[in-house]
Symmetry: C2
């Protein structure tokens, strides 16, 4: 990995001046939407709309060619029809533009003529202008003030997660969905057909980027297999790489072909990639975000002994099933410890073998605290999971539900206190119980308490199944690295 | 199946008079909560609290024993400590009570003394009183005016789904979660340790019950394997039985042991049950409800050729992967049809091989309609899936997003119209995109549009993966029955 990607890609992620070529007043067009989105997001450098048919677009002075812009231009967004793209990129090169993102589609994915156009583009790129795309939604770099299409309202705040996406759709869907989970990004790149800058270049960038601690990606196919393989082996030793590979089934591979014209399929090859590089394999958007949440909040961890603490019956059964299906362990507690726990929980309806069942979904806070303290100090357990215990309401000690509701109540605080006092990782499972329109406020409360846990650094999952899968991914990564470095 | 379960269990599901033995003013106790819950739910027959220590409980005249009630009593709910239960049940038998639900825990699941007590209970039951439980949350029968613990606010309205649950926790969680999806129940029974009435008796009841069209259950272990097996073979020919078997892993089986003391585990046996009876196997609460939704809304269906219609890039790839992983097909369209579809969708960014990508998440209604009409009439497709097309907002034709928002807008109506006009099943995928606290109103809109589709009989799923799994379960059931009857 000889190149210094940080300097090389600075123009893209922290660009000083930006031309939008194909800028339009029509918001149905890429050239209209991207300009509007950049303006809304608040790009702070000079922004130059370019369109030979207009003198003003969205209230801004508009140039007929990039060459007519009197000042230097670092970066260009290109949205003109595919046939016109090579000429426009050549003009950018002549103007001294250092990099461009080509949002236009109609290249390799669209047949022979497109293949020819894309080859032409690659040839111009090789002369000295770096290209993202074509057939992509562009770059989101909060610290650089630019955003992906249509990400006008994505957070301005940056974070430790890098995301590359061969798909424009997931390029926007992932950061949008992640926002509500408190996941923040260093950069997101929708890189489409990758005629020049490809997944390897971007992973190298993220590897070198001190802002990026966790690398994530949606990939349909890679350009240079051996380089990709070797790169992942190196990167995964110090930064986790979480990859969702789309198009592993026959139909999926076919869809890849008409989407970004990459080579999908070949499940065996990808089995080898994940098996031998340490990259973390996920199979969908939810799992990608769930797994990222574990890496974001938990300290490196190789132990896989879990203690789910739930409230009510079948919960414990389902918890054990979910954990063990993922290769995690729910070890039976020694008799002595079971006895101690049974002296804390109500005699009837509870269970203390592991999982621990506190007898109902709404345990009184001192009881929940005593159970968690006992598990945290006396059990050979690596992670505690608080499974579907209702944190949104609490009966008052007298038994009447009269006390004014306090959202982050005594019960809700117990898991955070235990994590803080004993340093034991605690993971929360909080399902959306209230799914009706009329129960929106109760869903609002769930989200507020979820946000409290996320702020405190406790990962929150919608189901125990998803928690177990994310933890298995997380622990698996660290176990592998522990073995390699031992 | 000789017995007439309908008459036999009428006392339970449509009881005329009801004693609550162990009734209490203390809402932390089962005897306090169940009485409160029954009163709130609005049981219309005479309700008699029984508690030797009280003369009035929750404002109602209270009897010291069931024998002191001057009128006939049909049914009893029993919440006294386990040691006292046999005597109380004997008194019920003497009084002429026909059936009882025993909520008290502390029986077989709690060691030797509990095993003895439960045996005693079974012996009394054999003398002429039917028992549900012990160690359960009771019965929810909307038409009978009784509800499960703590289901005070469950719908009064009944529906075609029967649910039995060995777990009290899922006994309430399933109907509560189902409510927001418009799923309504004929009866729900949390049957716990099943000392008398067991899963077979209840499935027989649901099989005979004209109100129940779909039988669902959470089961940890069965009492009489061969009877269960034979029963399912018979029932599944005419009514679908959707079962979630808890405790299939080693840890899960252990949790079952301390929960309802059933024999869990033995995955091979359960593989045979599901393989040879036609019962539909699900592995969690979400899949149980998702699958029920398919049976509820779709006509019997053996074809498994799907056409996912999505808006934007990787969606099509993920859709194909999800469908094919579940054994469903996403067949490539003939060139002619692809060409026709490509004349409808925008040239760039779209795809028409199947899946169909309409180019973006917000297609204009006439385009979406033309695509769906073409697929419905010209493609060899069994089910259309509308995958993550944004129904909550719509740009006005002029390109400005100025038009006042109309929730069930022109775009949202297209899938319903297509289903109505062409009789082709249409399934919706509507993810929760907005998961932040501040976007609650947008989640509210998503739920309102979801409810519109559910009212119109279009199943709605949160992800395409979940839609594909539910459809695979549904189609698999009907394919099996088609083969058997051919």
């Amino acid at each position: 990995m000889p190149e210094n990607r940080l300097d090389e890609f600075a123009t893209i992620f922290y660009t000083k001046s930006h031309a939008v070529i194909g800028a339009s007043a029509d918001l149905r067009k890429f050239g209209g939407r991207i300009l509007q989105v950049l303006l809304t997001f608040g790009y702070s450098g000079p922004l130059y709309p370019v369109n030979p048919q207009e003198t003003e677009v969205q209230g801004m002075k508009t140039y007929s060619s990039v060459k007519d812009i009197p000042d230097p231009v670092d970066f260009a967004t290109i949205t003109v029809p595919s046939q016109a793209v090579p000429e426009v990129v050549q003009e950018c090169l002549d103007k001294g533009v250092k990099a461009a993102q080509v949002l236009s589609a109609g290249f390799r994915e669209a047949g022979e003529e497109g293949v020819r156009l894309e080859r032409e583009l690659a040839e111009i790129a090789a002369k000295g202008i770096r290209i993202i795309g074509p057939n992509c939604f562009g770059v989101y770099s909060p610290d650089g003030g630019i955003t992906i299409l249509p990400g006008a309202t994505l957070p301005k705040e940056s974070g430790p997660v890098g995301f590359i996406s061969q798909s424009g759709g997931y390029g926007i869907r992932v950061p949008r969905r992640a926002e509500g989970l408190g996941i923040r990004f260093s950069k997101v790149v929708s890189y489409g057909n990758a005629c020049d800058i490809n997944e390897c270049d971007l992973i190298e960038y993220f590897f070198q980027d001190p802002q990026t601690k966790i690398i994530t990606g949606y990939i349909e196919g890679v350009k240079a297999g051996p380089r990709f393989f070797k790169l992942l082996q190196e990167v995964c030793r110090t930064k986790p790489v979480i990859l969702w590979k789309g198009g592993l089934t026959e139909g999926g591979a076919r869809a890849v072909q008409s989407h970004t014209a990459s080579l999908g399929g070949e499940e065996e090859i990808w089995d080898a990639v994940f098996g031998q590089t340490g990259a973390v394999r996920v199979t969908g958007l939810e799992e990608l975000l769930d797994t990222t949440l574990a890496f974001l909040h938990l300290k490196p961890q190789t132990g896989r002994r879990l203690c789910p603490i739930g409230g009510g019956g079948g919960i414990g059964v389902a918890a054990s099933d979910s954990c063990e299906r993922m290769g995690l362990e729910v070890p039976v507690f020694p008799a002595e410890l079971q006895k101690k726990l049974m002296s804390i929980v109500p005699a009837a309806g509870a269970s203390a073998r592991n999982p621990v069942d506190v007898g109902g979904p709404g345990p009184v806070p001192p009881m929940l605290r005593a159970v968690m303290e006992t598990v945290a100090t006396e059990a050979d357990i690596d992670i505690i999971i608080v499974d579907e215990i209702d944190m949104t309401m609490m009966m008052s000690p007298g038994g009447q539900a009269g006390r004014p509701p306090e959202l982050i109540n005594e019960r809700a605080r117990v898991p955070v206190d235990i994590r803080n006092e004993f340093g034991k990782p605690v993971v929360m499972v909080m399902p959306v119980e209230a799914i009706g329109v009329e129960t929106l406020e109760s869903e609002g409360n769930r989200r507020r308490i979820r946000d409290y846990y996320l702020e405190q650094g406790l990962p929150v999952y919608l189901t125990l199944e998803r928690a177990a899968r994310a933890l298995a991914n997380f622990i698996g990564y660290h176990r592998r690295n522990a073995i390699l470095s031992s």
